[in-house]
Amino acid sequence: MVLETEDLRVDYGHVRALRGVSLKVRRGSLVTLIGANGAGKSTTLKAIIGLVRPSGGRVFFENRDITGRPTHKLVAQGLSLVPEGRHIFPDLTVRENLKLGALLIRDRREEERRLAEVMEMFPRLGERLNQKGGTLSGGEQQMLAIARALMQKPKVLLLDEPSLGLAPNLVQLIFEKLEELKRGGATILLVEQNAYQALRIADYAYVLETGRIALEGPAKALAEDRRVIEHYLGG
C-alpha cells in the first residue's frame, strides 16, 4: 500500500465531517472516492495532505505515519493534490504556472525535461505556453492544474473533482487523460461526483456517505451494484 488511512476522523467545530474513514491505495492503481455533496470527500483529501488537522485516526504514506504532517513536507515527499476549483495563477503564463510546479527542483535540466514530458501529455497547453492562465477555458485550466501537479512527479496524485463545472465533452477529455496517466503507471486517488465516469476508469472504489464509507469494492462490481445505481448513477 502506498497510501492508507485508518479510521480517519475530522471535526469542524461541533460538526463531524469524517467519522472514521479507512481506505487503501495500491501502487499503480486508480482508486476513486464517490459520494454526494457534503459526504466528506474533499475533507478526506484535505486531511490526507495536511490542509485540515484530523481529530483522530492515522494516515500512512509508504508505510510511514504522516498524520498531521505539514503540507509542504508531504508535497516534497511525493503527494500532490489538484485542489477543487483548479487554483491556477491567472496572471501568470502557462509556462510560468508549470515552472512553479517544479519550484522545489533545483536542477534546470530536470525541470525542462519534465516540462517537455508534461507538454507531450497535454499538447493543448504546449500551444498556449505564453498565454496567461486566466485566459484559458475551464477545461484547459483544469489540464493546467493537473499538469502543474505532474511537474512534481508525485508518487500519488490526489484529484479533487476535476470534472467540476466543465462541459460534457471536456469531462470526457479529462477522464481520457486520467486513463492515460493510469496506463503510464501513475497512482491516483480521485474524488468525484460524476460516479459514472469515475467508476468506468477506476480499479477500486469507495462510496462515502455522511462521513462514513458505506460501500467499497472493485469499480466494475460497484458499477453494477443496485444501491450504487439507484443513488449515484441515476438508474
Binding site: 509542504h72 516534497a76 500532490s80 493534490l81 487554483h87 495563477f89
Partner: protein, 407 residues
C-alpha cells in the same frame, strides 16, 4: 539654501516612503491586512532612542538595535497572529498596535519617559564631504585645509542638482503615470484613450502657463537664493541628513527589489494570489508569511529610529491611530503591491497636510473624502500592482530580443 520648513517635510517624506514600502510588503505583496505597523515603528523609535539616551550607544548601533528589536518582536507576535486570516488578522494586529502605544507609559519612566515621552534624543550627525561643523566653518576655511572645503562648494552643488533631478523624475513619473491611467480609462469608455490623454496634457500645459507665477512663488518660498547663506547651506548638517536618509531609502529600495525577485519574494506573492495553490507547490506558506512580516517590521523599526533621531523628541502619541491612518493611506493611495506606488503614496501623504494646511480642522475630512473618491475610481491605488519602468518597454523588448529569451 532650502527653507528649513520644507527641508523638514522632505526628510519626513523619505521616512514615510520607507514606512509605505515596508507596509506594502505585508499588505500589497503578501495580501495580509496587518495594521500594527505604527507599533513596530514605535518599537524601533523607542528602542533606538532609549539605547542612545540611557546607554550612550553610538547612533548607528542604536538604529541597528532598534531594527533588531522590532524584528524580534514581529517574529514572536507573528507566530500566533499570522495563523489568523482576513478580518481576524486585522483585529488582532489593530489591538497589537494599541497595546504597544499603551505600553510606553507603563514601562520604567527613567528609561522610557512615561506618557510625556523622550526628549533631547541625540541627532544623526551627517556632514557633506567636509568634516567640519557649521559653527567652525569660517575658521576652517581660513585654515590649512581650507582649500578642501572650498572645493566642496561646487561638489555640494552637484549633490543638490542630483537630488532635484531625482525629485523631478518622481514628479514626472507621477504625471506620466496618470496619463497612462487615463489612457486605459478612456479605452474602456466611449471617449477613447488618445483624446483623453491629449486633453490631459493640454490642461496640464495650460495650467502650468497660467499658474507659473504661483509655482515660482512656491520655489522662492522653498529655496532661499541667498549668496551669503548658501556657503553655509552647502555644509548644512540638515541637508546632509536629508541626503543620508535618501541613501538609506535607495538602499532599502534596492534590497526590496532583490527580495521580491528572490524565492522568498515570489513565494510571498504566490501566497497572495492563492494560498492553497502556493501550499500545493510545496511552499511552507506560514513560514514565508512570518519571514515577510518580520522583514517588513524590521524596516518599520528603522524608519522609527530615523524619525526619533531626526525629530529629537518622541511621545507615545506620535504613534497613535492617526499615524496608522496615514500609513494605510500611503499604501492604498499610492498603490498596493508596487514600489512606485509606495513612493507616490509617501510623497502625497507627506505633502498633502502641508498643502491643505489652510483647511485646519477640515484636513482629516478631506483625507477621508480623498480615500472614498479614490476607492471608487482607482480601487487599486494610483500604481496598484504596476511599476514605472525606468527603461521604456520598446527598448526593453529590443534588448531582450537580442538577448534571446523574453523576460
Amino acid at each position: 539654501m532650502i527653507n528649513p520648513y520644507y527641508e523638514q517635510i522632505l526628510i519626513l517624506t523619505v521616512i514615510n516612503i520607507i514606512l509605505a514600502l515596508s507596509l506594502n510588503l505585508i499588505m500589497g505583496y503578501n495580501g495580509l491586512f496587518s495594521i500594527a505597523h505604527h507599533g513596530f515603528m514605535a518599537i524601533g523609535a523607542y528602542g533606538s532612542a532609549v539605547l542612545a539616551l540611557s546607554f550612550g550607544a553610538p547612533l548607528w548601533l542604536a538604529a541597528l538595535v532598534g531594527m533588531a528589536v522590532a524584528a524580534v518582536i514581529a517574529l514572536l507576535i507573528g507566530f500566533p497572529v499570522l495563523r489568523l486570516r482576513g478580518d481576524y488578522l486585522a483585529i488582532a494586529t489593530l489591538a497589537l498596535g494599541e497595546i504597544v502605544r499603551k505600553l510606553w507609559p507603563v514601562l520604567p519612566e527613567q528609561y522610557f519617559g512615561g506618557a510625556i515621552g523622550l526628549k533631547d534624543i541625540p541627532q544623526f550627525q551627517a556632514r557633506i564631504w567636509a568634516n567640519v561643523p557649521v559653527s567652525q566653518l569660517d575658521q576652517a576655511l581660513s585654515g590649512p585645509q581650507g582649500w578642501m572645503i572650498r572645493l566642496n562648494g561646487p561638489m555640494n552643488l552637484i549633490s543638490l542638482v542630483i537630488t532635484f533631478v531625482l525629485l523631478l523624475i518622481l514628479v514626472g513619473m507621477g504625471l506620466w503615470g496618470i496619463s497612462r491611467w487615463l489612457y486605459r480609462l478612456g479605452e474602456r469608455t466611449r471617449l477613447g484613450g488618445r483624446p483623453l490623454v491629449i486633453a490631459y496634457w493640454v490642461v496640464l500645459g495650460v495650467g502650468l502657463l497660467v499658474y507659473y507665477r504661483g509655482l515660482l512663488g512656491f520655489a522662492e518660498r522653498m529655496f532661499w537664493f541667498d549668496r551669503a547663506l548658501s556657503r553655509q547651506a552647502f555644509a548644512s548638517d540638515q541637508w546632509a541628513l536629508f541626503l543620508l536618509f535618501v541613501a538609506v531609502l535607495f538602499l532599502f529600495t534596492w534590497v526590496v527589489m532583490n527580495y521580491l525577485n528572490s524565492l522568498y519574494g515570489r513565494a510571498v506573492k504566490a501566497i497572495r494570489e492563492d494560498e492553497v495553490a502556493a501550499a500545493m507547490l510545496g511552499l511552507n506558506t506560514f513560514r514565508y508569511k512570518l519571514i515577510n512580516f518580520t522583514f517588513a517590521s524590521m524596516w518599520a523599526g528603522l524608519a522609527g529610529s530615523l524619525f526619533a533621531h531626526y525629530q529629537l523628541s518622541i511621545s507615545p502619541e506620535d504613534f497613535n491611530i492617526f499615524k496608522l491612518v496615514d500609513l494605510l493611506l500611503m499604501v492604498v493611495l499610492g498603490g498596493m503591491g508596487s514600489i512606485t506606488g509606495s513612493y507616490l503614496g509617501g510623497i502625497i501623504v507627506s505633502w498633502m497636510p502641508e498643502v491643505l494646511r489652510f483647511l485646519a480642522e477640515w484636513r482629516l475630512v478631506v483625507y477621508a473624502l480623498t480615500l472614498v473618491v479614490l476607492m471608487i475610481f482607482m480601487p487599486q491605488g494610483i500604481y496598484g500592482y504596476r511599476e514605472i519602468r525606468l527603461i521604456p518597454t520598446w527598448l526593453r523588448r529590443r534588448l531582450s530580443r537580442q538577448g534571446g529569451e523574453v523576460a
